[in-house]
């Protein structure tokens, strides 16, 4: 039995196709989110690579910011629940999740059964999210996927505001005009993201294992900064960017089993 989870975020669209609620047969990411061609393209990619179609799917569950825009989905489930489900599937020892996506950051507390017992989300502000890193990447002229490498070579961490992306951008420009090495600025940018995310994570009580998901978890510099701020080990989930879609596919499997 195949089930499909689709996670339409603000910055990207993700799909996971599961076989029998256990094996990932397709996982695709397109870097365009809700309101764009991203959702159609990511579905097309997933079906092309797997050789499957919608007709093969027992159930489809949508999550993410654009979850109500997927016509084919039989159910919409929030990204908090889907991330919890996906993480618990991948890392059953997880008790705290830090998820940083394109537009929001979340800290989720799980109980021993993998159920969400509390969660906290960022305010209506891009600081501490993937969008913040995108803005900084552009200002610094360093590609997103190279930022962790720069960070690893930093000799010190410069101060970058975590309150507001626009203010932080002007701070970074100021550092650049003062010839501060980009490595040190990037380490500061990552520390800024970490302080914002940790502000949410502290409220959960920080039970271990602490697991990171979301696109930003692919940035080792941010992971290091979060681990340093929390003084705790932080595990990066396998397939971090598709954890939400995986959770949705698992929920779809549960739904499909109910029908049988």
């Amino acid at each position: 039995m195949y089930t499909l989870g689709i996670d339409i975020g603000s910055a990207s669209s993700k799909v996971v196709i599961l076989k029998d609620g256990r094996d990932i047969v397709a996982e695709e990411v397109v870097q365009f989110g809700t309101g764009s061609s991203g959702p159609d393209r990511v579905l097309h990619q997933a079906f092309t690579k797997s050789g499957l179609t919608f007709d093969d799917m027992a159930k489809v569950v949508a999550t993410g910011y654009g979850r109500f825009s997927v016509e084919q989905a039989q159910k919409q489930i929030s990204e908090i629940s889907c991330h919890a489900k996906g993480i618990f599937f991948l890392v059953p020892t997880a008790r705290t999740i830090i998820d940083i996506g394109g537009q929001d950051a979340k800290a989720i507390k799980l109980d021993k059964r993998g159920m969400v017992s509390q969660f906290f989300m960022n305010d209506k502000c891009a600081a501490g999210t993937g969008r913040f890193l995108e803005v900084m990447s552009r200002v610094l002229e360093v590609p997103l996927d190279k930022m962790a490498e720069y960070d690893s070579k930093a000799s010190e961490v410069v101060s970058v505001s975590s309150t507001c992306t626009v203010f932080a951008e002007s701070e970074v420009i100021s550092h650049l005009s003062n010839n501060v090495p980009k490595e040190n600025i990037i380490a500061g940018v990552h520390a800024s993201v970490a302080s914002k995310a940790c502000g949410l994570a502290y409220r959960t009580g920080l039970e271990e294992d602490i697991v990171m998901s979301g696109g930003v978890a692919q940035n080792e510099g941010v992971v290091r900064a979060i681990s340093k701020e929390l003084q705790k080990k932080v595990i990066v989930a396998p397939h971090p960017q598709v954890v939400g879609a995986l959770g949705a596919a698992l929920f779809a499997y549960d739904e499909a089993k109910k029908v049988q």
């Binding site: 489930i77 929030s78 908090i80 017992s117 509390q118 969660f119 989300m121 305010d123």
Partner: protein
């Protein structure tokens, strides 16, 4: 349309179009309108002056630009939209506006008032346990009375204030009874309807509101109670607006079975005590007796156990803290309440309330996640 539907539709029409509701009430009663800003005002004195007290609680999704000249960006959204509307002349038809001073922003609203009508500001004493606090508040209320008399050109007698107290106490009692009964009828008294009924108090003559709410309560009581398949929540905070937020609660099957909102239940929580003494002293004692509100100092913070007891009493599945953005008094209470709720394993969610919010998608995600947790 059933009788209940007709009454509810009338309440919704009033709450959604205050301007028309006030005009209708004035046409019916011939009374001039006097504005009352949040949160607590001795409306009885206004009513005794033969005027219609009308609530000024801001406006949802109002674009704020002119108000920025007079208020910092971190003033709450209710005050931002009131200031914006002052500058646009929205309140110029009012004969006066009465402003209390329970928070830092409201303290300055009288000084900054840009409307054309006179503004009457007064202060509630916060050291409320002392007898001298009542003496102080009586002096404040005397000034309110005197300035209202000047603004309206009338004499406000003790007898008229005592009669107004009776009208208001009856309304508070009828509203509290309605809220008790409504908790059993979430299919009819949805979060949006419940809010409209409470909000309409601000734009109706209280005698008319009392009559309508009594009629609705009687109609509800005659109906069978049906099982509720969704979850039950209690709201606490200053307001739970806009309606779109309440619609999200409905969308995910959450019924509001009780509230501790400053705009709603806190307005009817405490009656003015009976007695033969000076009616202004009776009104002062109502403030002394007020409890469970972040704006009325309470060293014992009884609001916290009060909310825990409310959750138990109504069999609520969770509590939602409607945190008015930038409201310091509410922000100070939240950590204390959060700790207690967590200790007692009571599900809870904090939602930031902002009248100027145009997109509620993040709130939708939070509420859906919360509903999925329960």
């Amino acid at each position: 349309m059933s009788k209940v539907e007709t009454i509810v539709a009338n309440f919704k029409a009033i709450a959604s179009n205050p301007k028309k509701a006030i005009a209708d009430a004035q046409a019916k009663t011939g009374k001039p309108a006097v504005g009352v800003l949040p949160v607590y005002t001795p409306e009885e004195i206004i009513y005794a002056a033969g005027a219609l007290p009308v609530g000024c609680w801001g406006k949802a999704t109002k674009t704020i630009s002119k108000a920025r000249t007079y208020l910092p960006a971190f003033a709450c959204s209710i005050m931002q939209s009131i200031m914006e509307m002052e500058l646009e002349g929205v309140y110029d038809d009012l004969k006066a506006v009465v402003v209390s001073s329970p928070c830092d922003t409201l303290k300055c609203m009288g000084q900054k008032w840009k409307g054309k009508c006179p503004v009457i500001q007064f202060v509630h004493p916060q050291n409320r346990g002392l007898a001298s606090a009542n003496t102080f508040l009586v002096e404040e209320y005397k000034l309110v009375r005197q300035r209202l008399e000047e603004a309206l050109g009338v004499k406000i007698t003790d007898e008229a204030i005592n009669e107004a107290i009776e009208v208001y106490n009856e309304n508070r009692q009828a509203t509290r009874k309605f809220l008790e009964v409504a908790a059993s009828y979430p299919q009819i008294i949805t979060p949006v309807v419940r809010h409209a009924i409470m909000k309409s108090r601000f734009f109706m003559d209280k005698k008319d509101h009392t009559a309508a709410i009594k009629e609705l309560t009687a109609e509800l009581e005659a109906m069978p109670v049906e099982a509720w398949n969704g979850k039950k929540v209690i709201l606490t905070g200053i307001t739970a607006e806009p309606d779109e937020f309440l619609e999200i609660l409905e969308e995910f099957g959450l019924a509001v079975v009780a509230d501790d909102l400053a705009q709603e239940s806190r307005q009817v929580r405490v009656d003015v005590p009976d007695g033969d003494e000076d009616p202004l002293m009776r009104l002062a004692k109502q403030w002394q007796n007020m409890y469970g509100c972040s704006l009325a100092t309470d060293r014992d913070k009884k609001r916290i156990p009060m909310l825990v007891e409310m959750v138990e009493k109504y069999g609520a599945d969770a509590l939602i803290y409607c945190q008015m953005k930038f409201c310091d008094p509410e922000e100070f209470d939240y950590p204390l309440l959060y700790t207690q709720l967590e200790n007692k394993d009571i599900r809870n969610l904090m939602i930031e309330i902002d009248q100027q919010a145009n997109s509620l998608e993040q709130i939708r995600t939070r509420v859906q996640s919360f509903a999925e947790m329960m």
